[in-house]
Amino acid sequence: MDLAFTKEEQAFREEVRQFFRDNVPPDTRRKMVEGRHLSKDEMVNWWRILNKKGWGVSHWPKQYGGTGWTSVQHYIFNEELQSYPAPQPLAFGVSMVGPVIYTFGNEEQKKKYLPRIANVDDWWCQGFSEPGSGSDLASLKTKAERRGDKWIINGQKTWTTLAQHADMIFCLCRTDNNAKKQMGISFIVFSMKSKGVTVRPIQTIDGGHEVNEVFFDDVEVPIENLIGEENKGWDYAKFLLGNERTGIARVGVSKERLRRIRDLAGKVEAGGKPIIQDAAFREKLAACEIELKALELTQLRVVADEGKHGKGKPNPASSVLKIKGSEIQQTTTELLMEVIGPFAAPYDVHGDDGSNEAMDWTAQIAPSYFNNRKVSIYGGSNEIQRNIIAKAVLGL
């Protein structure tokens, strides 16, 4: 048992950090720190910088452009990226559909899609959830019917993150109505520019526009856009969701936010002195930092285990990551609310021109708090995670 990173790993961390310092556009970083939304161009621009460096799809197999890093290196890269902070690669392309394509797709599909995912030539979105199928995803109703050399797709998806930017969608569609619900689903990809695709924005409680409803009305999709086998889509979806077990804890994100809280709490006054000097606040902050340290260690246990024994069998501790990771992210946004106090209320009166540095940081704190309620809901709600632990780990 040994907690220490090797010399090589430490050098790697320094290399990654230096690359971020030299290459993340300052304005992108500032917006991330302040919890602002980035424009499509800002994100794509950064991802192309990453891809040019060869780090855009770091965890993919080498033949498809991956780095061949160890699981510890991936951990370090993610932590540094999250805590710098800089935008993480677009999960829908890089972490979700990419691995499905290189694992289950045919050669033609790999050639066609993978390089474009890596360079974000296509922006991908995820067509999983439906109005009637949230936690019970397998009950989904969006239908793909075979007609000649085409799929005809009808139905509706929802919570489709950043679909307003998307060029492509990977979509779970029902292709067999008679089979048991998990058995009749297929994994089909198609262009968001297709005739019959309508995207309608959903405004969330923070006032932002991240998610959308997507409607399919007799959308025609070439037959070769099926990934893998017909009616095996549920297996690919499970593979996809299980693929990113360790990133979900978002330890780096919470670390960065806690550093920011400590920094701001040294400036904002309460009772005539900086709020960091208030013992009760300080203890609350320490409590959150301790929880995060425990989570970081749990994550490292999973990472070390994967490095040693491969990704085949999930470490039981990995189910802790989503639950605790989301709770801690939410706690950090609560602490920020506490620091800002009554100045949480004003809307973004200064806009985002960076002209009023003294006040600009306050504008996004309440929205970020509101927005972060999502993290215990998405990606399998924390209640679903508890079901998983009860069944898969405790055998209940």
Partner: protein, 380 residues
Amino acid sequence: MDFDLNEEQRLLKESIDGLLTDSYDFEQRKKYMKEKGGWSKAVWLKLAEQGLLGLPFSEADGGFGGGGVETMIVMEALGKALVLEPYLATVVIGGGFLRHAGSDAQKAAYIPGIIDGSKTLAFAQLEKNSRYDLFDVSTTAKKKGDGWVIDGEKFVVLNGENADTLVVTARTKGDRRDSSGIGVFLVPANAKGVTKKSYPTQDGLHAADITFTGVEVGSDAVIGNPEDSLALIERVVDEARVALCAEAVGLMDESLKTTVEYIKTRKQFGVAIGSFQSLQHRASDMFVAAEQARSMSMFATMANDFENAKERSNAIAAAKVQIGKSLKFVGQQAIQLHGGIGMTMEAKIGHYFKRLTMIENSFGDTDYHQRRVADAGGLI
């Protein structure tokens, strides 16, 4: 980075788990509690036979040169089996003082007896008003000729009833809450002027309140610097905290396992109560709490070797906070999920709950350590 045990450590774990499976089920434990002093000499000698009492001592001192991970393995196993024998008091704490600061003569005089199981120790530190502050010492040690005269009262001294030797903190200089002027003394339990009031503790162990009235010891009784041993005391107590964290992880593992088994078999409304989602979620939360505790127990074990004493103490304090929060949740919910049967002395779960609860109140509780971490500037 590696969280796996190496081959030798795996063997150690197998060997102690095997020993305790054979000789420490809940019924056997009840018998041991009734033996003189509240624990089994026979079990203690078995631990000695397997080399477990000599684990952390250097080979030069007749031990096996084990490190923090080895102690963690043993403490987890002792927790899992709810062991009564004074491993913490004798090997971890008493042995810790000897390892870190004992003179060659002291090591030669005490360590062989610890290793062969013939002698046990107890740590007389807590005072009426000191609570968790290790520097708060009113007991005095005054110079007399070459030796010292000790006066004062110590409370809740674990294994105080049975120990052959007491490791006593006493003030040689300064005022009650001064950080300098504290010494550590080895006092024979049968020395003139030592009086003990023994009692069982809430968790089934035994402790004593001990009064020292003009107790005379020689110059060879002093461990380390008689006027400046707070750092030594903090070092050894940090090791005790790390050991308690590991013991708590073992206790939580067994509590969770027992609870899950129970709700799988207990039927109400015609079905196993473990089929109800509210209970499943509670059990899942217990699992999460136990895993977070395990991570911090490992962190504390490795932090024990940090060279910077402040970083070491801060990390161990953080671990004690996580363990405190986890053990309270796991312990309380284990009782809740057992229902009425969990309230009875006959069911083993309550005994695990009680030991967990006493660990929370040993060497600094959650609030105490949380404040320490906060005052040290946090953990990020």
